[in-house]
Amino acid sequence: MARIVSLGIVDDDQMLLDGMAAWLRPVRDLQVQRTSKTVSDFLAAGVGTADVQVVLLDLNLRDHTVPADNVARLRAAGTRVLMVSAIADPEHVLATIEAGAGGYITKDHDLAALADAVREVADGGSVLTPELAFVLSQDRRPVRPRLSPQEQAVLSAYARGSTLHAAARHAGVAYGTARVYLERVKHKYSEAGRPARTKLDLANRLREDRLELDHLGAQE
């Protein structure tokens, strides 16, 4: 595919920003467009879908912003988000997924795995890495999305690091069925955050409308 994915990276570690950009250089279809230390810096430059398709967002930024808010702001700006962190922080991972992040990946993966995840997110899909599956399977919050026992079984088996094929076998379902179950799990989690996102969209739209009106008013 000749398509090129434009990429943004938000991480509080300058060394990591530089390293990541250098690391991704050999990957022809991924182009690092902009790197920033905070989401505010990133958005201040004005981004849109045309500029940056996917942002690699560090889970815990040093400016103590709430990870889920960061995701929401980037999503509202029209980019897709892939969460990255050194270690999983289940509470915030869950919140960012529900806030619309396309996936979560730990920093210990190799380049190929990261590139695949970015492409998947860029296509509008969501990436279920074993570490994300593990966080979802260990979700003990009272408000967690309800999974059927079979969905839970496939998710747990996949969370162990098994191939999808092995996970399907473990849960006693066909490969295709297991795939559908995992899709459903991802869907349920992204749906869980939708009411809040809709509200946020609405607020944004209202604000934009107002700005537009103000703008019109100023012109007159």
């Binding site: 050194a86 289940p90 966080v135 260990q138 969370a159 162990r160 690091g161 098994s162 094929h165 092995a166």
Partner: protein
Amino acid sequence: MVSMHEPVETWTRPLGAGGRRERVDKGFRGPVSLSSCFEEPCGIAVPATTMADVRPRTFRLLVKMLAGIRLVQLLPWPIAFALGVRFNAPHIGLAIAGYGLQAGWSLFYAARSLRKGTLPNWLMALDVAVTCACLVVSGRGWSTARGSVLGNSAVYPAVGVALATGVVWWRLRAVAASILLAACYFIGMLPNLRPDSPMIVTALGNVLSLVGFTVVAGLITKLLLSQAETIAATTAAMLGVRERAAAEHARHDERSTQYRLLHDTVLSTLNTIARGAIQDSARLRQRCAAEADFLRSMISGNGQPTTNLTMELAVVVHHQAALGLRVHSNMAEVPETLPPEAIAALAGSCREALNNVAKHAGTAEAWLTAHTEQNGAVVITVVDRGRGFYPDSVSRGLGVSHSIKARMAEAGGSSVVESEIGQGTCVELRWPG
């Protein structure tokens, strides 16, 4: 196919920049052995006395002492006889019958007490009854009034009986028994008692002694038992503290050595890079990845403090990483305290499973997860996406399942090995099973 069953073996590997070598047991004992202090006494003599048996033990001792006193109390008459003391018994038949009955019974009583160390109620009752009878019979048989040096032969044994009632029957029954004994003594003495006789003083003294001994024996026994219990409790608590402290110390020592070593390797890697003299190389990168895997595996996701189990698993991961196997760890909450044998079994089985991935799976990547089920069971999985095998086949699968299964079962856990050709292997460890 290759056999997955690995014998217990020891190997050395380089560790750290200074070329330090560390001996690592691949066998049943992990490098951080928590169990050593539990298998061996660690220099602490644990006494046989425990809280549970201090009371019966003290009591048995008292019963044997009472038996000894009783035997001694029978002696004055035979000794006096042997020394040729003149007996002047008004009713020699009664005197002999009284002493004979008392001596015979007391010998049986003492022998039984020394052998069994117990004083059941029936024996006590019989003892009181026989002694009462002897007090009356002997009292009538002997008489000091007629110039005999020796009086009622049942008086001294009666004191022994009074002591025993105080020890065993304290309070009400003991006092009642001693009053009964005193009454029988009084009845026996009755023919000799005249208002102006000095015998009254002796008799009064004996009566008060009988009751007094009972009371004193009862109070002392009570005090003795409660103090013995207190001392046993204090000793047990003290020993427990010492034992725990010693175990903790040993564990801490061993572990801190291990982790200092591991942290040292991370630090020395960082220092090497910081100095800048080293060229970027595949080896350096592999080493950095290994150190990162080690640190990551020590951290459980929920911000939970690092537990003994996660520490042990981190050590296992570090060894594998140093050998070139990347282990992706995903740790959820696990219990903070687990029995050392459970930790040893889980970590040891985990090590074995990872060894097998490195040797047979044909992949350099493995996944390690740990979590706690709703029912409290700890579950650890070791997964690879490598070659896999037929779990039902007789060779490789059975080897590893058997040795891991045996190790887990021994610690009260269980294990399941799942595999399929081309789809990798999953070893699931569970404790309790």
